[in-house]
Symmetry: C2
Subunit: 79 residues, 2 copies
């Protein structure tokens, strides 16, 4: 089963990587870009068939390893 | 207008970062994880109101800066 986790910095947390991308875009003429936030997407292929179990396990993975929940929030999608 | 770009390594391109995450998960007991692929998500806030124009501009940003289209593919979502 495929599960997609999207991890973003929480609103209010400074995103220097996003700011660098925004400046680079502006220098290329993309002046219409007001703000850029950059995050991670992690695609997992699990040897599980049950959707509920998969979501529970992935939530545990996020809390224990994938996300730093002090500064990051995550979203779990089971397509 | 908000636009979300998701950038992943193309299938077949080695993903050492994803492999490292997979090993770390396995060492924590998440043995059900068969494969991990890690990519980037870039949220853009644009000073544009027209959806078609926004998508065209973001496609140009991807081709010129955001994605390395030799090894990466990208998806543009306008929520």
């Amino acid at each position: 089963m495929k599960v997609v986790v999207t991890i973003m910095l929480r609103p209010g947390v400074l995103d220097p990587q996003g700011q660098a991308v925004q400046r680079a875009l502006a220098s290329l003429g993309f002046e219409e870009v007001r703000e850029v936030r950059q995050g991670k997407v992690i695609e997992l292929d699990l040897a599980l068939a049950d959707r509920e179990e998969a979501e529970l396990r992935v939530r545990e993975m996020c809390e224990r390893l994938l996300a730093n929940t002090v500064i990051e929030s995550y979203r779990i999608d089971l397509p």
